[in-house]
C-alpha cells in the first residue's frame, strides 16, 4: 500500500519545494512578529530594572485573554503561546541581568533609589482588557509632574527623558531650569516620595520624544511628502525620459518589440482578477430576488453586460497568447505565476509618504489584521492549489483503481485543502 502512495521524483521535488517555501514564509513572518511582540511586551512592563526580576508581571493574560473576532484560539494554541511567552520572558530576564550593571555605571545617581525600591511597587498594574479604550482611570496618573516634565523636555534634549529617571532628573532640573514653584506644593499631596516604577500605563502620557529626533522625523515626513508632490508635477522630466526611451528603442537591435514578458504577466494577472470580479458580481446578481420589472430588467442588463465583458477578456487573453507564442516570451521563469495580488508593487501612481491608517478600537484593529492575514493565506492557498493541480491531477488520471489511497489523498488535498477525506467503499462482488 505504501508504495502506491509514493509520488514521482519530479512531482515530489516540486511539491516539497513549494510547501517548504510557504512554510518558510510563514516562519519568517512569525519571527518578525515575535520580535515585535517582545518589544511591545517589554514596553508595557515596568521599564527600569528597579527590583529583582522575580517581580516581573506575567504577560500571559494580556496575550491570551483577548477574544479575537477572527479566530478563537484553541487550547492547544494557547498552550503554545504560553510556552512562547515563557521563553520570551526568560530571554528578557537574561538580557536585563546583563544590562543592569552597565546602566548603573551610566547613571550612578540612580543607584540608591534602585536598590531601595521595594519589589512590590515595580509590578505594573495588570493590563486592562483591550477594547476598553476609555476606561483608564485618571487617578492612577500622578498629575503633578506633567508640567515639570515638559520643562525638562525642553531643557535637556539630550536626555531621553522621563522613564523612572524623571525623579533624578527632576533634582538636577530644579537647579538648572527652575520649574515653577507650584509644583513643589503639589508634590506632598500625592504619595509622599514613595519610589515608583515607570509604567507606560500610568505615566506614558508624560513621555516626550527627544528634540533631535523630532526634528529628523518631521524633516523625514516633509521630504517624503515632497517626493510625492514633485513626482506628479515634473512633466518636463517625464517627457525627456520618454524621449530617451524612444531613442533607445529606435537604436536597438529590436526596434519593433511588442509586449514584454513582464507586461504580459501583469495583464494576465489583471484578467485573472477581472474574472473573479465578474464571477463575484454574477453571484450577487443571481442571488438577489428582483422585485418588479425595473429590477428584473436591470439584472438582465447587468448579466448581459458581464457576459460581454467576459467575452472581451477572453479575446484579450487570446491576443496575449498569440503574442507569447510569436515572440517566444518566457513567462514566469520560476515556473508559476506569483500569487494573485503581486500586481501592485509600486506602480506608476504609487505614493511613498506614509499615510495614517485610523482605527478606533482594539477590536477594529484586530479585525483588520485578521482579514489581512486571511487574504494573504487565501492567496497562498490559491497558489498551492494550482501547483497541486498541475502536479497531482495527471498522476491520478494515469493510475488504475489499485491506488485508492493515493486517489483519496489527492481528493482531500485538491478539494478540501487536505482537511477532509472522502469515504471509499470497495464493492466486492457477491459470490
Amino acid at each position: 500500500m505504501a508504495s502506491s502512495t509514493r509520488l514521482p521524483a519530479d512531482c515530489s521535488r516540486r511539491l516539497v519545494a513549494e510547501l517548504r517555501g510557504a512554510l518558510d514564509a510563514c516562519a519568517e513572518r512569525q519571527r518578525q512578529l515575535d520580535r515585535s511582540l517582545r518589544v511591545c511586551r517589554r514596553l508595557l512592563r515596568a521599564w527600569e530594572p528597579a527590583g529583582p526580576p522575580a517581580a516581573e508581571p506575567t504577560p500571559g493574560p494580556e496575550s491570551n485573554g483577548d477574544p479575537s473576532p477572527a479566530c478563537t484560539p484553541s487550547p492547544q494554541d494557547l498552550k503554545e503561546l504560553e510556552l512562547l511567552t515563557q521563553v520570551l520572558e526568560k530571554a528578557v530576564r537574561v538580557r536585563k541581568g546583563v544590562s543592569k550593571p552597565a546602566e548603573r555605571d551610566k547613571a550612578p545617581s540612580l543607584k540608591p533609589r534602585t536598590v531601595a525600591t521595594p519589589p512590590a511597587t515595580t509590578t505594573s498594574a495588570p493590563p486592562q482588557a483591550p477594547g476598553q479604550a476609555g476606561s483608564r482611570t485618571p487617578e492612577t496618573r500622578p498629575p503633578r509632574r506633567i508640567r515639570q516634565s515638559k520643562v525638562l523636555a525642553k531643557g535637556h534634549p539630550e536626555r531621553k527623558l522621563l522613564s523612572t529617571r524623571e525623579k533624578t532628573s527632576l533634582g538636577r532640573g530644579a537647579q538648572a531650569t527652575s520649574p515653577s514653584p507650584g509644583d513643589q506644593q503639589v508634590t506632598p499631596s500625592a504619595a509622599p516620595r514613595a519610589p515608583e516604577a515607570f509604567t507606560l500605563e500610568e505615566k506614558g502620557t508624560l513621555l516626550r520624544l527627544p528634540v533631535a529626533f523630532q526634528k529628523a522625523a518631521s524633516q523625514n515626513a516633509r521630504l517624503w511628502a515632497q517626493i510625492d508632490s514633485t513626482r506628479t508635477s515634473d512633466s518636463a522630466n517625464a517627457a525627456t525620459r520618454t524621449r530617451f526611451l524612444q531613442r533607445m528603442q529606435a537604436a536597438s537591435g529590436r526596434p519593433n518589440m511588442g509586449l514584454s514578458a513582464a507586461a504580459v504577466e501583469a495583464e494576465v494577472g489583471r484578467l485573472r482578477q477581472a474574472c473573479s470580479l465578474l464571477r463575484l458580481r454574477m453571484g450577487a446578481e443571481l442571488a438577489a430576488a428582483p422585485a418588479g420589472w425595473v429590477q428584473e430588467y436591470r439584472c438582465l442588463l447587468i448579466l448581459e453586460g458581464l457576459q460581454a465583458m467576459a467575452g472581451r477578456c477572453l479575446q484579450r487573453l487570446q491576443e496575449l497568447h498569440e503574442a507569447v507564442t510569436e515572440q517566444h516570451l518566457e513567462l514566469w521563469p520560476s515556473g508559476m505565476p506569483p500569487r494573485a495580488s503581486s500586481l501592485c508593487g509600486g506602480g506608476t501612481d504609487a505614493a511613498w509618504s506614509p499615510q495614517p491608517l485610523l482605527y478606533s478600537s482594539t477590536r477594529e484593529l484586530q479585525t483588520l489584521a485578521a482579514l489581512r492575514l486571511r487574504v494573504a493565506m487565501l492567496d497562498q492557498q490559491l497558489h498551492l492549489e494550482k501547483v497541486l493541480m498541475v502536479e497531482l491531477l495527471p498522476l491520478v488520471r494515469t493510475q488504475g483503481p489499485d491506488c485508492l489511497a493515493l486517489f483519496r489523498a489527492v481528493y482531500s488535498l485538491l478539494c478540501n485543502g487536505g482537511q477532509r477525506f472522502p469515504m471509499v467503499l470497495r464493492d466486492e462482488p457477491a459470490d
Binding site: 515530489s12 519545494a17 510547501l19 517548504r20 512554510l23 518589544v39 508595557l44 494580556e62 479566530c71 531621553k160 506614558g204 516626550r208 529626533f213 529628523a216 522625523a217 518631521s218 523625514n220 515626513a221 530617451f244 536597438s252 514584454s260 494576465v268 489583471r270 485573472r272 482578477q273 465578474l278 464571477r279 438582465l300 448579466l303 453586460g305 477572453l314 487573453l317 497568447h321 507569447v324 517566444h328 513567462l331 521563469p333 515556473g335 501592485c344 509600486g346 506602480g347 504609487a350 511613498w352 506614509p354 495614517p356 491608517l357 485610523l358 482605527y359 482579514l371 487574504v375 494550482k386 498541475v390 485508492l404 486517489f407 489523498a409 481528493y411 488535498l413 478540501n416 485543502g417 471509499v424
Partner: protein, 428 residues
C-alpha cells in the same frame, strides 16, 4: 579619441558643473551605489566600471530582502539573473544580452541599461522605500507587501535543494497540515500584537510632536526606553533624509543627465542582431507560463457559459413580460441602460487600473483615533476592512471554483473505477 578627455558639463546649453552635480545626486540617492567617477568611466566603456554596475543592477532588480541570496550566488549567476530580469521587462538592446557572463566588461551597456530602468519607472523611489526607516507601527493595506515573504525571486526555485527523491503523498499532507497550523499561530500572535499596540497607543496619547499622529508608536516608545537604540535610529533617519534630499536634487537636475545619456547612446556602436544572436533571446524551453494562461482562459470560459445560461433564462422571462409593458416605459428603460453601463464601467476600472482598486499603493501608519474625530487625511480602518473583504470574497470564489473543478474531475475518474463506491466528504 580626443573626445575621451571630455568630461560632462559640455552638454550644449547647460551650465558647466550641472552634470557632475546631477550624477553625484544620483550616486548619493543610490547610497551604496557606484561613485560618480564610475559613471564617467562607463561612458567610455572602461572595464573597471563594469563590476560595480553589475552589482548595482543586481541590487536594483532583485526583490526585497534577498541579501543572503545575493551573497550565495556566484558573479556569473548574478549576471545571468540580471540579464533574464532585463529581458523579462522588455529591454531591447541585444548587445546587453551578449555581454560576457564573467561580468568583466560592458560598462557602457550597463550604464544604458541602468538609465533605461531609471527612465521607465519610479526606480529611485522604490529603492528608497525599500530601505525606509519605519518609525510608525505600520500595517500594509496592499497585499503586495506580503510578497517578499512569498516567492517572486528572480532566481530559479531550485535554490532550495531537495534531493530526497520521491516522497509519499502523506508527507505532502503532513506539510499542508503543518502550514495550516503555522497560519493559525500567526493569526493568534497578530491578535495579541494588535492588543499590545493598541495599549501603547492609548497610554501615550498626546505625546507625539506631530499633532496628526497624536501618540507614539512602539518604535518611538522603544527609543525612549533604550537611548542607545534610539541613537542608531536617529542616525538611520538622518542618513535617509540625506538620500531623500539627494533624490529631490536629482529630480531638479536630471534633464542634464538625459542629455548626457543621449551622447552616450550616440557613442555606442549600432546594436545589430547578428547571426546566432537569436539563440540568446529565444530560448527553446517549454513555456511554463502557458499553463497559467490556459487556466485563466478556462476560468473565463466557464464563467461565460454560466453567464450565457443565466442570461438566456432571464431574457426569455423578460420578453414574455415586456409584451405587457406600455410604450412610454421606453424612456425609463433607456435611462436604466445608461445607468447600468456606467456601473459596469466602474467595475471594469477596478481591474484595468494599474495598482488595483481605487487606492494607490502606499505605506500606512497606525493611528488610534476616536471615531468621528477628524485628524486631517488618512485612511479609515473601516474602509480598508471593506476593501479586504472584497478581496477575500474574490479569492474565495476563485479557490472554490478551482476546488469544484477538481471535484468534478475526480468524481468522473472515481466513477470509472470498477467496484468502488465513492462518498465525498460533506460540508465545508
Amino acid at each position: 579619441m580626443g573626445r575621451r578627455r571630455r568630461w560632462v558639463g559640455q552638454v550644449a546649453g547647460t551650465r558647466a558643473g550641472a552634470l557632475p552635480e546631477a550624477i553625484a545626486a544620483l550616486s548619493r540617492t543610490l547610497s551604496a551605489g557606484p561613485s560618480p567617477e564610475t559613471f564617467r568611466r562607463a561612458k567610455f566603456d572602461f572595464p573597471e566600471a563594469a563590476p560595480p554596475l553589475w552589482r548595482l543592477l543586481f541590487y536594483v532588480l532583485s526583490p526585497l530582502s534577498e541579501d543572503d541570496i545575493a551573497a550565495s550566488l556566484t558573479p556569473e549567476a548574478r549576471v545571468r539573473l540580471v540579464k533574464s530580469a532585463m529581458r523579462a521587462q522588455g529591454y531591447p538592446r541585444l548587445a546587453f544580452s551578449r555581454l560576457p557572463e564573467d561580468g568583466s566588461q560592458g560598462s557602457r551597456e550597463l550604464l544604458l541599461a541602468l538609465s533605461w530602468l531609471l527612465a521607465r519607472g519610479p526606480l529611485l523611489e522604490r529603492l528608497l522605500a525599500r530601505t525606509r526607516v519605519r518609525l510608525g507601527d505600520e500595517m500594509p493595506v496592499c497585499e503586495c507587501e506580503d510578497l517578499p515573504c512569498g516567492r517572486a525571486s528572480p532566481g530559479p526555485p531550485t535554490l532550495c535543494k531537495d534531493t530526497e527523491g520521491c516522497v509519499d503523498v502523506r508527507h505532502v499532507q503532513w506539510l499542508m497540515g503543518k502550514l495550516r497550523f503555522r497560519w493559525r499561530n500567526l493569526i493568534c500572535s497578530h491578535q495579541a500584537q494588535c492588543a499590545l499596540l493598541s495599549k501603547i497607543h492609548e497610554y501615550t496619547l498626546g505625546c507625539h510632536s506631530d499633532q496628526s499622529l497624536n501618540h507614539l508608536s512602539a518604535a518611538e516608545t522603544e527609543l525612549l526606553r533604550d537611548p542607545e537604540g534610539g541613537q542608531q535610529l536617529l542616525q538611520m533617519l538622518e542618513f535617509e533624509n540625506m538620500r531623500l534630499e539627494a533624490a529631490l536634487e536629482w529630480r531638479r537636475l536630471e534633464q542634464v543627465f538625459w542629455q548626457w545619456m543621449d551622447t552616450v547612446l550616440g557613442a555606442c556602436p549600432p546594436d545589430f542582431p547578428h547571426a546566432g544572436s537569436q539563440s540568446t533571446f529565444l530560448p527553446s524551453i517549454p513555456d511554463p507560463g502557458a499553463g497559467e494562461l490556459d487556466l485563466v482562459a478556462r476560468e473565463l470560459q466557464a464563467l461565460q457559459v454560466e453567464l450565457r445560461e443565466a442570461v438566456e433564462v432571464r431574457r426569455a422571462a423578460w420578453e414574455a413580460q415586456v409584451r405587457g409593458l406600455r410604450p412610454e416605459r421606453s424612456a425609463e428603460m433607456r435611462a436604466l441602460k445608461e445607468a447600468v453601463g456606467r456601473e459596469l464601467a466602474t467595475l471594469q476600472q477596478a481591474w484595468e487600473r494599474e495598482g488595483g482598486p481605487v487606492r494607490p499603493h502606499r505605506p500606512h501608519r497606525l493611528v488610534r483615533s476616536e471615531a468621528g474625530a477628524l485628524p486631517g487625511q488618512g485612511l479609515w480602518a473601516a474602509e480598508a476592512i471593506g476593501a479586504l473583504r472584497n478581496k477575500e470574497a474574490c479569492l474565495e470564489a476563485v479557490l472554490c471554483w478551482l476546488q469544484g473543478q477538481c471535484q468534478q474531475e475526480l468524481a468522473r475518474l472515481a466513477g470509472a473505477l470498477p467496484g468502488v463506491i465513492w462518498i465525498p466528504p460533506h460540508g465545508r
